[in-house]
Symmetry: D2
Subunit: 450 residues, 4 copies
């Protein structure tokens, strides 16, 4: 049982939705958890401590079912006031009602999610101060924490050609001002991380783009953010979120390896980690676990945007992850590195445009929270076996020429000598199909035990 209390200021926005409870895997109640039991211990930590779920303010509170060919399909009751501040306050109340009812410990937002931008920077900042006051109060009342905040540097037309990488210096300055404000907000609200997603840091055509100069600017901009955070004592983990394309034709933070290359080139490795999103992985042509592994191997897996994409479509569908194979593969990498530290699983996922009932918001989150709970349980059982498999497969490096290879410099002459004076190497089965079958066996064990 968790101790946040339901927000009651103003009217309830989800009056027909009770707090969601764990009822076990055989429950047929759509408004209950089947596998996600916040207090259940898995390897020494509770599920809630492992999974650190965060709700995305933009999709869950501000998503309105718009797509590139269609107008909004839902008008949320918290989004109807004509006054921007009232709308923002109502939305915050609704948000914390949702957070507590779904029993998420964390949330995430862009500045533009929590209150509409005003006509000029000064007034926008004042609006932000207004809503941040309310959010702070709601956090205190409920115990819900801010996993991360970020700055929207992509919606406003001023950023159409980039923010930190804009060819116009005055836009770069504007972007810096907006990031500065959000660093202050993050600090005030105790954000555990701060995210940079560069949806407009990229290009439409190389014909009008000086890529090298833009990347130099991007690095400089990030150093500026690091410095300013230090100055104000904001010690959140900074995160970069890779995405290959969309909205830009090419985005500089293409995938995990590209981001790492950039961070290494400019000496930024100590100040950043990565926020890996499932759907962004597939847009880059990678599996989710590939991107998680690349980041994790470099010690740079900071947090996760836990959604899924439709691999047959070429845009970000931001669906809720629901298949046990997907969530298990992700949790294996996360568990293998001992968890996400200050990071968490942020649902960067939205309802399908046709899911227009208010309760669909709960149903979608429940399904994905359950799927990650199953994924966690599978991962926990799988990891020991996985380590054994790898230890066996690479054991030729534990002695002889293999050990020599790993410990010394490789000496091509000695290696040639070895090859000339030993029989042809024999092929050793990789046993992929066996491992796939074993995975199903572990899923069986988990499902039966749940």
């Amino acid at each position: 049982m968790s101790q946040e209390k339901i927000i009651t200021r103003g009217p309830e926005f989800f009056p027909n939705i009770p707090r969601i409870n764990y009822e076990g895997s055989d429950s047929k109640n759509p408004l209950s958890f089947k596998w996600y039991n916040p207090v259940q211990k898995v390897g020494g930590k509770t599920m809630k401590e492992h999974l650190r779920f965060a709700i995305s303010y933009w999709h869950t509170m501000q998503g309105e079912g718009r797509d590139i060919f269609g107008n909004p399909t839902v008008v949320r009751p918290w989004n109807t006031a004509s006054d921007a501040k009232q709308r923002a306050a109502d939305t915050a109340n609704a948000a914390f009602e949702f957070f507590t009812k779904i029993d998420a410990g964390y949330y995430c937002f862009h500045d533009a999610d929590v209150i509409e931008e005003a006509g000029n920077l000064r007034e926008s900042n004042e609006r932000i101060d207004f809503i941040v006051g309310i959010l702070e109060e709601l956090q205190t009342e409920t115990g819900i924490k801010l996993l991360w905040n970020t700055t929207n540097l992509f919606s406003n037309p001023r950023f159409m050609a980039g923010a930190a990488t804009n060819p116009d210096a005055s836009v770069v300055a504007y972007a810096a001002a907006k990031v500065k404000k959000m660093l202050e907000v993050g600090s005030k609200l105790g954000a555990e991380n701060y995210v940079f997603w560069g949806g407009r840091e990229g290009y439409e055509t190389l014909m009008n783009t000086d890529m090298q100069r833009e990347l130099d600017h991007m690095a400089k901009f990030l150093f500026g953010a690091v410095d300013y955070a230090k100055k104000i004592g904001f010690d959140a983990q900074f995160l970069i979120e890779p995405k290959a394309m969309e909205p830009s034709k090419h985005q500089y933070d293409h995938d995990a390896a590209t981001c790492l290359n950039f961070l290494r080139e400019y000496g930024l490795m100590d100040y950043f980690k990565l926020n890996i999103e499932a759907n962004h992985a597939t847009l880059a042509g990678h599996s989710f676990e590939h991107e998680l592994t690349v980041a994790s191997n470099a010690g740079m897996l900071g947090s996760v945007d836990s959604n899924r994409g439709d691999v047959l479509l070429g845009w970000d569908t931001d669906q809720f992850a629901i298949e046990f194979y997907d969530t298990a593969r992700a949790m294996i990498v996360i568990l293998n590195q001992g968890g996400l530290g200050s990071g968490g699983l942020n649902f960067d996922a939205k309802l399908r445009r046709g899911s227009t009932d208010l309760e669909d918001l709960f149903i979608a989150h429940i399904g994905s929270m359950d799927a990650f709970a199953v994924g966690l349980l599978v991962a926990e059982k799988y990891l020991a076996r996985h380590k054994e498999i790898l230890a066996n497969r690479y054991n030729s490096f534990d002695s002889g020429i293999g050990e020599q290879f790993e410990s010394d410099n490789i000496d091509f002459e000695a290696f040639e000598n070895h090859a000339l004076n030993n029989p042809e190497p024999v092929t050793i089965s990789g046993k992929q199909e066996l491992l796939e079958n074993e995975f199903n066996g572990i899923l069986n064990d988990v499902m039966k035990a749940a």
Copy 2:
């Protein structure tokens, strides 16, 4: 318990592999079925009757781990004799040993799989007669049946620019001769279906291709096959297998809808059904269940190549289907149309190139047969609920203007009248996330009951 006997003529080729038995879902024996219980009844039929598994001669017996950048990784013991006929006989013996040990009821082959083509057509045909005699005997001894046979019209360079669609009439004649022979073989071996896969029926460039003339030729060729089969009393179901590309840049049988369009255009709908392959679906940008549904809706789903592709890769990976979501979605369509009739589930799947142990052949088939068994169990539970969902969602067509729409011709004036005199339609949630959660619930029920 099934009654085929193990083939013992000549040496055993899998001496260390016992007949594979069902041991239940908690068995940890990799050489046992966990969910596939041939005699278990599901909705009035046994699992074996539902699933009608067939083994692909080309992958399972002739697959050698070649890829476009690599030489074979395995040399099978049945493939070592220097004489083509001896090699073919050994392979047939090994094949039937495999079929019976894995307890598949069916197998499938191309002419080129069962015996190597000779230097000329006459001699090739003699070779085929030789091996067909042996296959017939083995079928009789074991009770294993031929799900389908087909003609390889793509490997030999004579077919590089097509078989039925080759710009050289003498190649078309040659292709006809080869198909003629295989129709006779199918007839002799009691094949239940005969498959056309047109890997070279397509083009590399439109610059040198008269697409219309080639399609006219293809239709004429198929009519020829229909006529000849009738003449020799071979009454197998003819099947066309869609594939979008590979080896050709564009293949005429691109996907299910394209095949249907072709069959309709030329008046061939009565003589053919479709053989739908999972990996070919994804190469065409479709989900497997989409292609199955398109074929099934047209009454044209005849048989299935039950593999899976890697959706992040652009070629046919022909992996064994192993994930329960995939197999369940396929089985839903199949069960919904009352089964595959004379068709079956042919494993057009091959070991990963690095899976070089002989036992891997068994392990891979076991895993996929188990996955389809789970898929069948899920499908059976899911279908009743599915029909209820659809009945509810479309119930506005059961009365009023909807019923009128379905029963009469649509009258735009009456409909405008209705629209002008009724309130704006309200949006109705499609409940996609709820349905996805329910699917996991059904998987839970199936896993627990198994």
Copy 3:
């Protein structure tokens, strides 16, 4: 020289842009045609008669630089009035100023482009009547014609689950009412074609979709449109526009072959042709010329949406076609079928979001009109050679067994006889690289002569 007069009612909206004239290929004036010379004869017709360019009202007049992550980047001067009718009138004036200055003979629109939908159907229809009166007057004054109109059945949330294929009969009725109105509008404005693009006719998930029932509805709806058009004497060519996905996950009009299959199944072939779009072709995994060829071979290529997509991106980028190879390959198919009849080349293309100058609208159209002019010139030279190539390549069907194959039914026994008694067929080079080189040679000849 063409005789339409510049519209001067109200203020000019492009006061700094003169009428665009042909200045020849060496002109460096960005506001001139380099290759498109409306009056130049190519094979008996003028370029203007061949190309029948049409301007897309939605992109050119209503495009505001919105994308899925970004707000509008431009506010057009004709789009600022607060009153919907005034805004529509201003836009119409600006549109015809643009059409005449760019010297396009045609335009195209959806109902929602020419005037904003009102709160209910009756009022929306009244608004349409208002703007159609103005459009009619402008057409008369300028001689600009309506290539096609269409109904927007995808933006309004009422259509989120389809229009003709909506599970709610009242939405189907609403869609019928809207199409009815636009058929009347097409009739009044003398539209030469009427287009159906079913962006919402498809599905998000098969879990809640009865595909067969929806397709039955779609067919019935189209018959309704055919009947009503006949009733009011509107004899425009009806067109279906294939698109694979976006906005829907799967769209029923996936590609040309899928549309043809649908039209054949329901007996609609006599009433419809296809409107093929370049970008939709690549989204379906096809080349533009492939889709054009499929439609043309079936006698069903009615009109063309002449844009281009970024083949490395998975969404509709709707870029202006600018590369000579692309435009030439399209014009080859069009010229080969003797032109588009009542169809034309509609620029379903939009400015890049960052191209915010008013003059960019002209520059983009000029570039693409020039590119199609070059394409036309190349196509004209290429076709004779192309026919010769094909005649040679397939000449084995002009005598002997080939001729027999084309004229009679194919007799597999006779063909086997031929194959047994003739030498192995020899491979004949397809000469693809030679043909590609020749294409560059033709481009050279055209560029030099221009």
Copy 4:
């Protein structure tokens, strides 16, 4: 006129093909250059010096038209001897006859291309010594140079699970021995570069792969190669060739950025550059010029595999680059960095499988050499304009807050101050369509002048 002499030892293999000469762009002789004039000066260097064409031994001499579904379509006359050494010698003679007749200055090979591997390493090495003696002689006689050599670490089954990254240490040793031999060969033949392409350095499934350990091994292996080359005084430029996938499901050298990240991580930046291939770029979801630019910006663009892929297909089609837009975009990046230094344009391109005439080898190379000649001419004209465009677009960084941004550390407070006290930035058109039109104008100028 170039001074290499035609090889006449043994029979001519291309007796009907003369030396290919430049005849000007209006020539209709398919066996002549239309634009590639080796001695023509472009900006101070001859075309031959700029383009440094190299012929790929594997495709041009050893390509036999095999694909994954088909057997060879050609048997080359130099490949018929039963003795491996005789076959190798004949092939070398044919190769140098081809190189001199096509007037390429360079060639490239893998060990396995120049002579078939023997049954054991010692004998394989002896074979290599034999053929290298002949190649050395042929180089001396003709003046043709070795652009680069490399080691085939992917075809033999021993490498099925990797070479440097194989889980079996004895395979790593074997790979080292093979690379050692080829470094010696490179040294002996004066290779100007040495290439590493890691087709098997990657994984099929993460289930059996320790990615981090494998990458550590890869780095160590490369250091070994660097050390050994130094030891034997082989000072060629080392190159890594990115490829995303195929044959492996995932390859560690995914794209340029991934390779750079790897080289930076392990401290290998000083010893390697990149060999960028067009088709590998598109397989990774990038444009060719993107990958060239990423490499070039890092000072790491060493050489180029100048082919093209079919962007609608998901495998390496290795087609000859023929379209002027593609070759121009590549040459712009190359010219912008002042050429490729010791690198060159290697035709990693093969005939279409159906192009079976011997002359097709010449025709394909001629077409692509011509296309690169046009590309060079366009690039030369384009670059000055391009620099002007970029200088203008970014000129806000040449003074004021922009200059401060580039010269100092960014101070977020100062930047906020600037943003607060200046008007909202205005959007500035990126003029993409204008630049695209200008590109066509430059192509016009080049075509007319040629």
